[in-house]
């Protein structure tokens, strides 16, 4: 009844498949490999490998790092921490990358953090925000020092949002009250705490605080509850969702402006995805398409647009910078050894597309987080206006004034 020979044959076939899959081109030991683990199917995530590749091309065109070319190895984690862990293992054990640039999702980065220590492979996140990432490093520096936070922490994001809200809303529009609306995720817990702390200090009273599941599709009840409180502004903390709340905000003509973190709004395609509903939405960003944060910003945006036909997401800017300062660190360390690379990365002082990158030193509660402030990274606030992302804060870099769609009532116009 059975055909043993055939069974065995198939088993051999299967193992051949496994072996074929596991045979990478390991020929040239001269190449420096950098792994990029990202969410290829999401707009925020898909810029990460693209921007990293662009950076590598530019470095290689100038002769590479001490004569060694940089090779970007990309992995898709399907927004799942398990897939990301597998990708990380493959990157470290199989493809022998020197460092990994990983993910814009905090949960994914948190799952990778212990692996970065276990496999002694430095990892930098270009877009996750949770404060827990750096808190973990502070708690157990020896094990977790391989992780670097290449994007602002939620705490810093909240503070920057308050700084902007002070200028734009309190001084500009005389606003006094707000409702916080954020998605339930790891990165918003410290964000909301930060909002609740700093909003009162700039003279805005928090009337209510709504956290909703990232699975939410119908935002009508949420906007209704917010409207019932009659706040002057909705302070947002959204990243996994974006299109749906924005479109429903417009279709229901919620008369309250939205300002805060809205990661998807940083994407140039957001206008099209929302059919223009995003008109008037104010959001925090580290860079904007027309804003020369540093002399490197606009050349990067141009090159990215030329190569890929669209604008980078926020995580694209940081991923691009990260490849450069990883390359610099390898040059300074004179080695790709994990431990030495960590020491070299800690000494990073690099002016990139989003500002001047320096990491907080060991001993700080947010060790390996970015230093923020004037002259370092201060962030921007942009507003969608007629299909364009217009920078409105800080005032020095501002390209226009606030403009809201007609259904939105601001205190000034009342």
């Amino acid at each position: 009844m059975y055909r043993p020979a055939k069974t065995l044959f198939c088993a051999v076939n299967l193992s051949a498949l496994v072996l074929a899959a596991s045979m990478p081109a390991r020929a040239d030991g001269d190449v420096i490999k950098i792994g990029v683990i990202a969410e290829a199917q999401s707009v925020s995530g898909s810029s990460i490998p693209a921007a990293a590749q662009l950076a590598a091309d530019e470095i290689n065109a100038k002769g590479g790092v001490d004569g060694r070319k940089i090779e970007i190895v990309t992995y898709d984690d399907h927004s799942s921490s398990a897939d990301a862990v597998r990708a990380f293992q493959r990157a470290a054990n199989e493809d022998h990358v020197s460092a990994v640039i990983a993910s814009y999702i905090s949960e994914v980065v948190l799952a990778l953090e212990p692996w970065s220590g276990r496999l002694k492979t430095p990892m930098i996140t270009p877009g996750a925000a949770s404060d827990v990432i750096t808190a973990n490093i502070a708690k157990d520096y020896e094990h977790n020092k391989y992780t670097f936070h290449g994007y602002l922490t939620s705490g810093s994001l909240a503070k920057l949002t308050c700084d902007a809200a002070k200028t734009l809303l309190v001084d500009g529009l005389k606003m006094k009250t707000a409702v916080i609306m954020s998605e339930d995720a790891a990165w918003t817990t410290p964000l909301d705490a930060g909002y609740a702390d700093c909003l009162p200090t700039i003279g805005i009273k928090v009337l209510d605080h709504i956290r909703f599941s990232p699975d939410t599709t119908d935002f009508t009840p949420i906007f209704n509850r917010i409207e019932g409180q009659k706040p002057d502004v909705i302070i947002t903390g959204i990243s996994h969702v974006g299109v749906q709340p924005t479109v429903q905000w417009k279709s229901q003509q919620v008369p309250i402006p939205m300002l805060g973190i809205a990661s998807q709004a940083t994407n140039s395609t957001f206008w099209k995805e929302t059919n223009g509903a995003t008109d008037g939405v104010l959001y925090q960003a580290v860079s904007g398409p027309d804003v020369a944060v540093t002399e490197k910003t606009l050349p990067f945006v141009d090159a990215f647009q030329k190569k890929y036909g669209n604008f980078p997401s926020y995580a694209g800017y940081t991923a691009y910078d990260e490849v450069f300062y990883i390359a610099e660190a390898i040059h300074r360390a004179g080695s790709t050894d994990g431990e030495k690379l960590v020491t070299a990365l800690e000494a990073t002082d690099y002016v990139g597309t989003i500002g001047r990158v320096q990491f907080l030193p060991p001993g700080d509660a947010h060790v390996h987080g970015l230093k923020t402030g004037a002259g370092l990274i201060s962030g921007l606030f942009l507003q969608w206006q007629d299909g364009k992302q217009i920078n409105v804060w800080p005032t020095a870099l501002s390209k226009g004034s606030l403009k809201f769609p007609s259904f939105v009532k601001t205190s000034a116009s009342q």
């Binding site: 043993p4 596991s22 290829a40 399907h78 799942s80 949960e107 339930d184």
Partner: protein, 309 residues
């Protein structure tokens, strides 16, 4: 019963393959081992599902309910109190078995699509719970557990292989035992099997408990391999779908085929990873083609006979 299993040539060939697999760490890289480790745990998930479907004839859409209960109970316990790992695993198994009883109750009352739906609802409820109780479970994407079994790929690999082999032997033995035959009979014609004097309720309950035991155990062990638990790895409907597809693809009612299907799914998904986002699409397409062209599954194909009858 034991002698009958030992007489089965299928078992001997499987054991030879297992022995070959046990030597893999000598010549393949840590990465391949890591991949196979996951594949073996999925193999156990699929075998446990096949026991319920193939022998008790219950279409359980909720294998990930049992897996998730095991995984999250173990993971949460570890993140809260850090007891020794085996205690966490035991707690996970216990939770999964309680879950098995919860699933078995409707199964004794309703049939076909109705039972399928109740199991699906169980998964959705667990998923909702994980998301809502975020401060306990880590919410949407993850709970990081402080302890793992080992950092060493080889240790993890052998553990998973050994676990799968033992689970396979037990489940296979069970399916070929008088108990398995009674289950099969009651699955096909409950009334008649009852009339022959078999206690259907007892046997079905036992099948659910056994299935839950292995699902929960595998789930809990996998948590301590990955060092993280997340909805997308353990609870999501798609995880259950993958388990079911693995079992059907490998050949239903065969137990051993389930391993083949699950390993194929995981390995093929990874081998195609260089294709990036299209990998899942292609694996699904291949699985669909196999199901349409060879309903007996991979094992049926190897046996060269039609179906598993």
């Amino acid at each position: 019963m034991l002698s009958r299993i030992l007489k089965s040539r299928e078992i001997w060939f499987s054991l030879i393959i297992v022995l070959c697999a046990a030597t893999l760490p000598v010549y393949v890289s840590g990465y391949v081992l890591g991949l196979l480790t996951i594949a073996y745990y999925f193999g156990v998930f699929s075998m446990a599902w096949d026991l319920l479907f193939g022998f008790a004839n219950e279409v359980n859409f909720g294998p990930s309910f049992l897996i998730g209960l095991g995984a999250y109970t173990a993971g949460i316990l570890d993140s809260l109190y850090q007891p020794p790992i085996f205690i966490c695993v035991l707690a996970g198994v216990a939770a999964a078995m309680i879950g098995g009883v919860v699933l078995a109750l409707p199964a004794l009352r309703v049939r076909g699509p109705y039972f399928g739906l109740t199991t699906l609802v169980a998964v959705l409820m667990l998923q909702n719970f994980v998301v809502v109780a975020a401060n306990l479970t880590g919410g949407e994407i993850g709970l990081t557990v402080p302890d793992i079994i080992s950092v060493d790929d080889k240790v993890n690999y052998w553990l998973a292989l050994g676990f799968m082999t033992i689970s396979g032997l037990i489940l296979y033995g069970l399916s070929r035992s008088p108990v398995g035959l009674i289950l099969q009979a009651s699955g096909q014609d409950t009334v008649q099997a009852g009339a022959l004097g078999f206690n259907i309720v007892k046997h079905k309950l036992a099948a659910f408990l056994v299935s839950a035991f292995f699902s929960g155990l595998a789930g809990a062990l996998m948590v301590f391999y990955l060092g993280a638990a997340s909805v997308t790895t353990f609870v999501d409907v798609t995880v259950g779908v993958q388990v079911i597809i693995g079992a059907v693809l490998g050949g239903r009612r065969t137990i051993l085929g389930a391993v083949l299907g699950a390993v194929f799914l995981i390995v093929a998904g990874e081998a195609l990873r260089p294709l990036g986002e299209l990998a899942t699409f292609i694996v699904s397409a291949v699985a669909l083609a196999v199901i349409l062209a060879f309903p007996g599954g991979l094992l049926g194909l190897m046996r060269g006979s039609r179906g598993a009858s």
